[in-house]
């Protein structure tokens, strides 16, 4: 009786969200899946092709390379993101002078558009006209000056860095919230037992933040796999495909060559891979709930 009444109340609250999800996620997803079973001419005429486009994917080395690059972007960016984000979030959770100012500085790039950030860093990283290399040279660190976006070994980390630079504020805020909700009594008990701040951070705070990390890592994987704007504006997938992501390859396939069916298959495969990775990470990172 109680449950039935509860359901009656819940459903109207869920409906708007379900409607939005249906219109902006489920319908496009189904539509793209349908498109992926067709072959399109440049003018948009289509013929049914069944699973041929998926067969093409399996035989296409450029898709495999783009997939590897996509995972590399996630991994390299993740390595650049989480250690400093955790450090900053921890620092901001302490009572430090000028905390608001630091929060503003860390968060400010988040409000800039991806296009603005990408163009700005593209200029900063320019090998001769930019600011990074001259700055390194002026500090007698000229040996570190590189053709950042033009070097296939450095271009992907460079783009990943920009992606992280722009978004780190959000992660710091989320991690700060995680640090804030840690029970003060537990931390205090640790201090009374003689644990130093580093020991407290490593052995008490981080384990207690496990559920937060799990969610944030999955979110990062999903977000970084869709870093279209940064890659497109900064490198267009170059040099020679070293930064090509599945999303940029899919875009070029659809809109430069008009091969909409194949591009849709690329997208559907990416969705499936992202879901699988998210589920796997969720399972791997799952720990027993801490009771305190």
């Amino acid at each position: 009786m109680y449950r039935t009444a509860q359901r009656r109340i819940v459903i109207p609250f869920l409906l708007p969200a379900l409607a939005l999800l249906g219109v902006f996620f489920l319908y496009p997803l189904v539509r793209v899946a349908v498109i992926s079973t067709n072959e399109f001419s440049r003018t948009g005429k289509s013929t049914f092709a069944g699973l041929d486009q998926y067969q093409r994917l399996l035989e296409d080395p450029s898709y495999g390379d783009a997939l590897v690059n996509t995972f590399m972007m996630t991994f390299v960016g993740g390595c650049m993101l989480f250690p400093p984000a955790v450090a900053m979030a921890w620092a901001l959770s302490q009572r430090i002078h000028g905390e608001r100012f630091f929060r503003f500085v860390v968060f400010a790039p988040v409000v800039l558009s991806a296009a603005v950030v990408s163009l700005m860093w593209k200029f900063l990283l320019h090998p001769t006209l930019g600011l990074i290399n001259p700055a390194l040279e002026s500090m007698n660190l000229g040996f570190l000056a590189k053709t950042w976006l033009g070097d296939p070994a450095l271009a992907l980390p460079a783009v990943a860095f920009v992606l992280v630079w722009q978004g780190i504020g959000i992660w710091v805020v989320l991690l700060s919230a995680g640090f804030e909700r840690l029970p003060k009594e537990v931390l205090e008990a640790g201090r009374i037992d003689g644990a130093g701040e580093w020991r407290l951070f490593r052995s008490v705070m981080l384990p207690m933040m496990n559920d937060v990390f799990r969610v944030l890592i999955v979110l990062w994987v999903v977000q970084s796999m869709q870093s279209f704007a940064f890659v497109w504006i900064m490198t267009r997938g170059g040099p020679f495909g070293s930064t090509e992501q599945v999303v940029t390859l899919s875009y070029r396939t659809a809109f430069e060559f008009g091969d909409l069916g194949y591009a849709a298959a690329m997208g559907i495969a990416l969705v499936a891979i992202m879901l699988a990775v998210a589920l796997l990470l969720n399972r791997l990172l799952k720990r027993d709930a801490l009771e305190y």
């Binding site: 948009g44 976006l149 809109f255």
Partner: protein, 445 residues
Amino acid sequence: MRSMRLLAGVALLSLVVTACGDSGNPDENAPDPKSWRDDIKGSALEVGVLSAEGTPGLELLRGLADGLAKDYQGTDVTLTFANTEARPAIEQRWRAGKPLDVDYGMFDGTDPELHVWADDGALLNLKPYLEQNDPDTGKPWLDSFSPTIRKFMENPGDGGIYGVPSELSLHVLFYNAKIFTDLGIAPPATWDDLTSAVDELKAGGVDPIAITGLIEPYMGMWSDHLWLRTVGYDKARQVLSEGKGHITDDPGFLDGLEKLQYLRDQGAFMKGFEGTDFTAAQAQFFQGKAGMILMGSWLVSEMASVIPKDFELGVVAFPTVPGGKGDQGAVMAALQQVSIAAESQNIPLSLEWARRLTGVDFQTKRANEIGEVSAVAGVPSPPGIPGIDKVISGAESLNPRDFGLTVSPAKDVVYPEIAKLLFGKQDAKATLDALDAGLRRVHGN
């Protein structure tokens, strides 16, 4: 029985009427070619343009739009940016059945990949209209265009004409004439001249060649031109874009790549080109930091706002390769053509826009004021590009740029490998092997 006869009669009449219809003008929406000017009425008109906001080229087009609005009451012309960056979105509009009335890049008779819009009936066949006498000249509108460029305008499939050229972009080697004069270097006419010029520019402390390393097709312009000289247009196109034969069959391909490797090893390309965008590369040329740049003749109008007043520009055709088995007198070109949507709501007004755009008066104004090279007969060479007239008169043939690679999946095979060669990641032979493997894969041959 009687009704059967009646039905047969109607069917026969329908067949006769259909057969007697104007086969050159199949578009139901299209006006009569002989009297289309009488049907021009003012309305909204959306026109694709290649000039970006804030450029003098766009101002000229705005003037053309104002003239049309003045002559035909109710005309409201919207100029929509339709250059490379905007093409994906604009092509989506065509696919969705909401095309621009007049647009660029929809047809190129020399590129089978770009026949498809005409073949599918999306474009108006302009031939019946071009064959009518133009009231301004008293001659057919078609006569305004040089016969050498008709192959770009005509669809080999049905003989129709689906584009009229508004700009002719020639791929040429620009050089800084002041630097060349100061250092006593002659503009390069042959491959040996070019390599000598590179040495002399380096000795003079100038980076020899400006190039972008961030956009692969711009690096590919060098291999395209070398193959034009060492292989020839037809053969290179067959192998690269059409999958006919293999790149290892003709030694000219390796010869071209070895020449490119030679330039690389010579240090011909400007410092830091690997991380330099194309606009920055062009700007560095005009700032005198590099001696040469291989680019389309659009360079001058595109960069008009940053070219120093005292900059002395020179232009030559891509150097010949003595002993090369390809086309030594050919020039690569991109003909920027406007096409009219078969579904345009105002085809007469669209035709009038195209006619005015390709008229001698407007084309002359563009040549003089913004340095655009025209494909229209009787229009002078732009004074802002000294030497372009010699390139045009000396061209034995105009061949479409890039062998059609940019609209072929082979683009993703060819240009990345050329970039690797220029970046020093592989030598000419390794590049050839990688190209061979990639082309066999995409063409399945």
